[in-house]
Amino acid sequence: MEGVLNQLPIGLSIGAVLLLIALGLTFTFGQMGVINMAHGEFIMAGAYTAFLLQSVGFLVALPAAFVVAGLMGLVLERTLIRRFYGRPLDTLLLTWGVSLMLQQLARDLFGAPNVQVVSPAWLRGGLGILPYNRLFIMALAVLSVLAIWAYMHRTGQGRRMRAVMQNRRLAATSGIDTGRVDQRTFFIGSGLAGVAGVALTLIGPVGPTLGTYYIVDAFLVVVAGGLGQLRGAVLAAIGLGLLNSYAEFWSDASLAKVIVFVAIIGFLQIRPQGLFFVRSRALT
């Protein structure tokens, strides 16, 4: 019985991980229609940043990873993705090519084996069933969501971002430099992947294939949550986290993945556009 109760916080903490890895994607996918398969490799870049900076300090790695992954995203946006707006399926394949190259690059830079990232001492131990590092990840997820919300609703840049998101053409004719907004969006979305990468070093392996372990889950969260919807992503991540947690508790890890997939297909039967979506009158 205690085990069943324990699955609740565990589910929430799985949800927090899902939310962290999917948050940046909600931006780039939801807002710009860019399906970035290299998102997983930005997570990896964040994790390697934590590896390189572990002598300096874990908390320093968070902003550093944000900047590193963000800059990688920015470069990707400027050099390649920019040419592909409005062609999301092509972008998907393009960024997959990029992700292959980034994986090999990581292999050449850091070696194929996993590297060791030591968790900071203050994250050892735990509260009840949840270790401190899980609580930290949950707190980080909450903070990230709050920061994003504040950015979008309380700053001029954020307002412009929302304007572009709702109606690109109107925003452009109203004098908003949509190119710059796109760059910023991509920087932030990729940067969030970097932050997720730092957090993941606490609980998972740090190696060249790290990104591939999370990318499909991240996309499922975005699909279930709806395009570009912050609250959709939050609810979907928590929902999938809980589902995962209980499905695995009562069956096993393999079956849990299949159950989650079936649940998402079923869910899309009821809400084909995800939890939340913006109504649109236009016809393609």
Binding site: D90, V223, L227
Partner: protein, 361 residues
Amino acid sequence: MTAVEAPVEAPPVVRREPRRWQGPAAFAAVALLALVVAPLLLEPFRLGLLAKYLCYAIVALGIGLAWGQGGMLTLGQGVFFGLGGYAMGMYLKLHDAGGDLPDFMVWSGVEKLPALWTPFGNPVFALAMAVAVPVVVALLLGALVFRQRVRGAYFAILTQALAAALVILLVGQQGLTGGTNGLTNFFDFFGQDLAADETQRGLYLTVAVVLGVLYLGARQLVRSRFGRLLLAVRDGEDRVRFLGYNPATVKTLTFAVSAGMAGIAGALFVPVVGIISPALLGVVPSLELVVGVAVGGRFALAGAILGAVVMGYARTYFSEELPAAWLYLQGALFVLVMTLAPRGIAGLAAGLVRRRREAGT
């Protein structure tokens, strides 16, 4: 309007109305090359590899149909390939076991042949299932997602998740499927020794002929009214509704056809290569198939086939010569093709032909 629903990159401007004899002549030339020249020139090992690439080309043809013509980017084609492959593998396994339990069941602790396996002892049933199961799965998935107007990126991601889920399922049911090992160690193919060079040559010719027939069928489909309807659905699904058609039906049928092709390819792949395993139908192999189609040219059926063969050869070559560079090269090739030649080799070739024609007149 969301960008997700934006139309795909427009195909070539040239109308496909070359001189009457050109198409059949080119087809005959390729057929001659594939059926006569290749078996004479290539040593058995290389011919076997070519047979493998041609199996992938059959899948690619289906992807070309679904993605190039119908705008449905399917990242889970490995699922259908695998279902076809497993159907064939189950028959071969039972045939080799000759009434006993297949070897892997013995070491997985299965004592009695599972009911699911029993009918696969019949080759006709197994062959029928190799096509029917993928088609039915595609019809079901298509009916569910297309009716709800799930499309574009959503559809791509769902098919990808399907591939991931199937792999996990296959791996988890070791007693039923052979787990990660998959099904392998086949000896006899309809009375022929699978290790013999003649058998492999015969298999190669079978694959080549099947590919040719499916290509002609797909071509007919593309040029029919249905093909135009498919193109219309690709470019304006919502508009098609107001022409009185249900796009979901059109897409589901096309998706099922492409799944059936992948199933046939999987069934042929098993005797050619001698193994079917979850690793062959997961997320990455499914994506690699799509890469091949993009490189060859997704808007032309022949381009899809060409792409699969070229990527197959490139993979073998680099894996023999520069294994560490393969990921870089695959990634780079892909980025280059998507940015510089989104219509692939076929698009480039069409462009060259057009330019020469313009220069000539």
